[in-house]
Point group: C2
Amino acid sequence: MAESSINLAIIGSGPAGITAGIYAARKNLSVRVFESAALGGQTSLAIFVENYPGTKRIRGSELMDQWAEHLKEFGVEVEEANGIKSVKKINGGFELVTDEKETVNAKAVLVVTGTENKKLGIPGEKELYGKGISYCANCDGPVYKGKKVAVIGGGNSGVTNGLFIEEIAAETMLIEFMPELNCDEVYLPKLEKSKIRVLKNTQALEVKGEERVQALKVKDRATGKESEIAVDGIFIYVGLEPRNRLAKELGCKLDKWGFIETSVEQASSVKGVFAAGDIVSGTLAQTVWAAASGARAALAAYDFIKQGK
Amino acid sequence: MAESSINLAIIGSGPAGITAGIYAARKNLSVRVFESAALGGQTSLAIFVENYPGTKRIRGSELMDQWAEHLKEFGVEVEEANGIKSVKKINGGFELVTDEKETVNAKAVLVVTGTENKKLGIPGEKELYGKGISYCANCDGPVYKGKKVAVIGGGNSGVTNGLFIEEIAAETMLIEFMPELNCDEVYLPKLEKSKIRVLKNTQALEVKGEERVQALKVKDRATGKESEIAVDGIFIYVGLEPRNRLAKELGCKLDKWGFIETSVEQASSVKGVFAAGDIVSGTLAQTVWAAASGARAALAAYDFIKQGK
């Protein structure tokens, strides 16, 4: 176990957290990276990442493993399955309690808790979660070999995960609320060539099923006609929402959607608390952007710790 | 030769330009990347890059070659030794003339012309440039095998290049104007272990020599005492200045140091002109940051081109 009194506590290990760890360690700060689950944040959930400069098409989890290896070169390891339960400001810094019930004092805190998948909020979604409803095709897709699957959401996440599911499932449909898909154009020809059935302008109304998902009730928004589609699995990709529990605990100013407002230097409204990556108001929600903001936050935290800036 | 009427002209091929190319191509924009010299910008001049997330210690030029390879996957090649001579706003876009005298029309322009090494502005510097004075140890260092070399500047560039030179030269000294070095702390033990002679609080006054550099005249700022140090080569790393000739031609608003002012989305004050990387006011001057700003600029250019935003 590392020392319990450190310079910088990084809460989260997505691209922003790992990059901040690299930058902080290179500045000789004592730093720990806490992660409530497995490392890599949203990037590690991506089937493939194609646009992180310098790295051709790669599984998201593999890319994040490379980053964690890089961080290790500087003597820092991501502490997986050891998140932060609580955090409060104390005299001269912050007191954090980890999931392993260790108390850690830190001079500065970097909140990189990212986002989690938004829920649709329709009947049956909560009840059948884990029983045919999933928010991660990468994790749960393979069990739908030869089955019928609906992917909800026509942005990049929905489309790329739909294309992944199509290679596994017998039938795949993609359901988008708006009249047009909102994904990068590079995916459109791939979608065309696939056997995915695309339902645009379609609202998901309810998930039906007893023990497991059996059908999805939808409405054609043009005609108002409702219908039920028999499916075995439903993957939901309708956006992300901020994981801001600790930011709230710290009293950070949030925007109206619950993302942390920061200065250009990634400082939050609370002195000594910095934020980066997808939890930040105005995030680009891209791996490279999260990394850059993590770098900037670590350098700002360094200035704060060393020069009281 | 690519079509002479395109969506987006990217001027520069450092981390920002290459990343913007990747993002623009994935959005199906027709895009060309113009480069007046060799690809890779400041990053390609770095002896080693240690902090680009996911890539352990690597030569800067090798890292940038990897990025250019990645860009090629999307059908775009950096046009080396084909910079932009002039650019002006015309009806419906911009007209650019390349070094190869081709006229290119583009709907939007991304200025990623970066920075170049600042000159000291002392007597002999200009006269002996290329005759013992250099701004790139990576390019010119190897010729000083067994010689005496002074590196001027104690920031990260000066120190890392000094450490590189020390492996080649017989004697290396590092000269810093301020009382303390301004490099990352990770380099201090390496510097200590090296045989580099560090002169802090020392001002470079004049470069002496007839055909070639023979000596550097310096002043000890504490005592005011002046002296001459016999050297064969001088490498100057005293900061960077913006390459803003084309930004000025376009009428972009610049900050007082000559960097381009942009919105959060990387839009300049001129509609249709975007900027990213080290030419931007407030740049972090880090590879990963330049890349992220290039990604954002490309996405903003896409919105501008497609939706007239």
